[in-house]
Amino acid sequence: MLNTLHGNKKMQLTLGFWMGIVFGFLLQKGGVTQYDIIIGQLLLKDFTVVKIMLSAVLVGMIGVHLLGDIGLAKLHPKAGSIGTSVIGGLIFGVGFGILGYCPGTVAAAAGTGALDALLGGVVGILLGAWLFALAYPKLQGKILSKVDFGELTLPQLFKVNQWIVIVPLAIMIVLLLLLIAKAGL
C-alpha cells in the first residue's frame, strides 16, 4: 500500500507541500526564522538552534530506526566523501555566518517578511547552487571523490548493530541538552 502511495507522483507533490507547511510553521514557532537567533547560535550566545536540532535528531533517530526495523520506513543515508562533506561543509559554513540563515530557514524567514532573506539570501542561494551546477563537471571525479566512503552509516563504520550506536548517542544528546540548559544558554 505504501509503495502505491510513494509512486503516486501527483499525490506526493501535494503531500510534500503540506509537510512543508508544517515544517515552516514549526521553524517559525521555534524562533529560527529570526536572524538574531541564528547568529546568536553561531556566536555561541543563544542555543535555540542546537536545542531544536538535537531534539529533532533524538526523536527522529529513535523513531525512524524503529520504523525501519518493522518495515514501515526505508533509510536513505546520503553518500559522501571527505571532499564533499568537509570542504563543502566548510564553504557552506562561511556563507552561513555571513547570511545568518540556512536554505530552509531562509525560505521560512522570507515567509515572515524578512526582505534580507527573500531578496538577499534566497536569490544568493539560487545563484550559488546554479554556479555549482556550472562548476560540477570540473569538480566531479576529482575533489568531490577525495576519500569517498559512499552511503556509509556509523553502525556500518563500527560494524555493530544500529542500536549499539543509537542508545549511547541518545543518552549523550540528552546529557548535552541538560548541560546547555544548566549553563543557562
Binding site: 510513494h6 506526493q12 507533490l13 503531500l15 510534500g16 503540506w18 509537510m19 512543508g20 508544517v22 515544517f23 514549526l26 521555534g30 536572524y35 547568529i39 553561531l42 556566536l43 531544536i52 536540532m53 531534539s55 529533532a56 535528531v57 533524538l58 526523536v59 527522529g60 523513531g63 525512524v64 536513505h76 543515508p77 546520503k78 559522501g80 562533506s85 563543502g88 561543509g89 566548510l90 557552506f92 559554513g93 562561511v94 556563507g95 552561513f96 555566518g97 555571513i98 540556512c102 536554505p103 515567509g111 515572515t112 526582505l115 534580507d116 531578496l119 538577499g120 544568493g124 542561494i125 545563484l127 547552487a129 546554479w130 555549482f132 551546477a133 560540477y136 563537471p137 556509509l152 556509523l154
Partner: protein, 172 residues
C-alpha cells in the same frame, strides 16, 4: 487553538515535532526532509527560461532534473507555513535589516542586502558541494546516522562559528 497564536514554542517541543514530522515523511513519502536541491533545480529552471532546453544537458541537471518535485513543494510549503505561523502570532513584519545587524553594523538596507546576497551565493555553492544543508544533512542525515551528514553538520557549524566570530568579534 490559542497555542497556534503563541509567539514562540519551547525549542525542545519544536525539535521533537520536527522529529515526528521526519517519521511521517519517511512513512508516507519515502523521503527525508531537505531543502537545498529545490534551489539547485530552480536555478536551472530560471537559466532554462533564457537559454532553452539545452540547459537540461548539463551533467548536474541530469542528476537533479529540472522539474518541480516533492522537495520543491516542501520548500514552497515552508514559506507558506511560516507566513501562517507569523501571521497568527502577529509577528509578520516586512523588515530589511534584522535587529542585531542594525545594532552592530548599521541600519542601512544595502549594507545588509549585499552581504546577505554574497553569503547566500557561498552557502548555495557549499550546500550543493556538500550534497545537503542544515535540514538534509544536519537533521535528516544525522538522524539516519550517515557518516557524510555528521561530518557535514560539524563543518557547517565550524565554518559558521568561525565566520560569524570573525565578522562580529574582529571586523566589527
Amino acid at each position: 487553538m490559542e497555542f497556534l497564536r503563541a509567539e514562540q514554542w519551547s525549542p525542545y517541543l519544536v525539535g521533537a515535532l520536527i522529529g515526528v514530522l521526519s517519521w511521517i515523511t519517511f512513512i508516507i513519502s519515502d523521503k527525508p526532509l531537505g531543502c537545498s536541491t529545490a534551489f539547485a533545480r530552480t536555478g536551472g529552471m530560471i537559466e532554462r527560461i533564457f537559454r532553452g532546453k539545452k540547459v537540461e544537458e548539463r551533467p548536474y541537471y541530469k542528476k537533479f532534473a529540472l522539474a518541480v518535485d516533492w522537495e520543491w513543494m516542501l520548500v514552497l510549503g515552508v514559506i507558506i507555513g511560516s507566513f501562517l505561523s507569523s501571521h497568527l502570532s502577529g509577528r509578520f513584519i516586512w523588515q530589511w535589516v534584522p535587529g542585531f545587524w542594525s545594532e552592530t553594523i548599521g541600519a542601512g538596507r544595502f549594507a545588509r542586502w549585499l552581504p546577505a546576497l554574497a553569503g547566500g551565493v557561498i552557502m548555495g555553492f557549499g550546500a550543493r558541494w556538500a550534497g545537503g544543508c542544515t535540514s538534509g544533512h544536519g537533521i535528516s542525515g544525522t538522524l539516519q546516522l550517515a557518516v557524510s551528514s555528521w561530518l557535514a553538520a560539524l563543518c557547517f557549524f565550524a565554518g559558521g562559528i568561525a565566520s560569524a566570530m570573525l565578522i562580529f568579534h574582529v571586523l566589527v
